[in-house]
Amino acid sequence: MEILKKISAGLQQGDDKKVFTLTSQAIQEKIPPKEILEKALIGGMKIVGEKFKIHEIFLPDVLLAAKAMSAGMRLLEPFFIKEGIPTLGKVVIGTVQGDLHDIGKNLVSVMLTGAGFEVIDLGSNVTPEKFIETAKQENAPVIGMSALLTTTMPVMGSVVELLKQEGLNGRIKTIVGGAPVSEEFAQKIGADAYGYDSTNAVESVKKLLNKT
């Protein structure tokens, strides 16, 4: 459908006004909201993610695309009140305690939302208890943790350890990422997955939830 392509193109240009106008037009044309969400918004963000990965576009473009996506989402939300917005699942995300660096975490948050996950973003300086409490309350199957400082990385291990103590490991899965974090580190602390970059993080979360 032509209009869905136009919405996707507007999103890729980071044009929130265009996405807003075209999405309301698509709704008036009785295109199923689920189709608008999946084909135009999520489809558009997927292309943004791919271009970002190969350095064809940069962080500012992604941030604008995310804004444009939420402009469209606002219009679609009323249609999903009964059954809720169809999502791939909930992810609780945050930068770990002692660390205030949130650019990478925000990017992963944008990409997960763009891929169709419901993201509960706890911000930065998040304690292990807060991660777990929120995941339990929200019934979220995944906790995503970010750290930029080598000195705060051990907090990720504490979250994994606490989950074990509460017998929640396996039911709540963990994924870690951030500049100093590596695959080996993730394995060492017993995290369920590692996200190399924002696109890879989305793929890893999909794998954790068998959504690939």
Binding site: H55, F58, D61, L100, N125, T150, P180, S182
Partner: protein, 300 residues
């Protein structure tokens, strides 16, 4: 002391200092604490780092004010202490080095994004840098160093604030680039070509790059800068990409390795060579020795 710009014009190669944040961590900075809080709580540590770099042979000593703008300090709810933090940093540096080196006032990114990508108005960003720089200049710095920038607009606002507060104080401006298959770009997508012309137009006297992935990428960055600008250049690479051993970051590039590679920076025409994260007084000492040899042979 002779003005920095005059000295560079005479063809003198200068050495700037190495990492401050990573040294603070070595000397007791706890994760999650503002590095600038040491200016109030542990001025003796701040003095010590400056003294170590002076002793290693640095001509330029950077103040511990990288995150000293009120916008950045607000991450730690320390914005009300902007004046005290920046003043103390300069006083500590001055106490340690007197007039034996230039004191360069570090002004790092605000940590916030300008509209439309974030929620900060340009005026707000400008005011934040201006408030920090006023204190730095009043406390008696020799150079303003706008550094580690990834957004050109933010860098330009900081340079303009510096030139408005103190028109005759030299301004160094550096940005941080990633090496991509399509060339060097900052996280915000700024090319070296755009950076060089933007920083110069905004009023910077010395331009270049800091932080990043190590000295080898810095050589490529320097080449590109040289093509784009006639201004004196500064390059301050990290000591490579760190790995963690026993919970501590370990930077792979040794003082010898960096000093050897830094020769190439000088042959490209870089005027000031120093270090960033992971570089230590030992790195600066090795670079100093190399530069000494180069300055000698230059005279001969």
């Amino acid at each position: 002391m002779e003005n920095l710009i005059q000295r560079l014009k005479r063809g003198k190669i200068l050495v700037s200092d190495g990492g401050v944040g990573t040294m603070l961590m070595e000397l007791g900075l706890k994760p999650g604490d503002a590095p600038e809080s040491f200016n109030i709580l542990h001025p003796e540590v701040v003095e010590k780092i400056a003294a170590l770099y002076l002793e290693a042979g640095a001509d330029i000593i950077t103040t511990n004010t990288f995150g000293g703008s009120p916008l950045r300090l607000s991450f730690y709810s320390l914005e009300d202490k902007t004046e005290e933090i920046n003043r103390n940093a300069v006083l500590s540096a001055r106490k340690a080095i007197a007039n034996r080196a230039y004191i360069s006032a570090s002004c790092g990114p605000s940590g916030r994004f300008l509209k439309p990508h974030g929620d900060i108005e340009p005026e707000q960003m400008y005011d934040s840098f201006q408030r920090q720089i006023k204190v730095l200049v009043a406390s008696g710095v020799d150079i303003i160093c706008v550094e580690t920038m990834t957004d050109l607009r933010e860098a330009e606002l900081a340079i303009k604030a510096a030139k408005t507060v103190a028109v005759s104080t030299p301004v160094i401006a550096t940005m941080t680039f990633d090496s991509t298959p399509r060339g060097f770009y900052t996280m915000m997508g700024v090319s070296i070509e755009k950076a060089a012309s933007g920083l110069e137009k905004a009023g910077a006297d010395v331009i270049g790059s800091n932080c990043g992935t190590g000295i080898e990428d810095m050589i490529g960055t320097a080449r590109e800068f040289k093509k784009q600008s006639k201004l004196p250049l500064i390059m301050q690479p990290n000591a490579g990409i760190p790995t963690t051993q026993g919970g501590k970051p370990v930077y792979p590039e040794t003082p010898e390795f960096m000093a050897e590679k830094a020769k190439e920076l000088i042959s490209i025409g870089v005027s000031i060579v120093g270090g960033c994260c992971g570089t230590t007084p030992e790195h600066i000492r090795a670079i100093r020795e190399m530069v000494e040899q180069q300055n000698q042979s230059g005279k001969a």
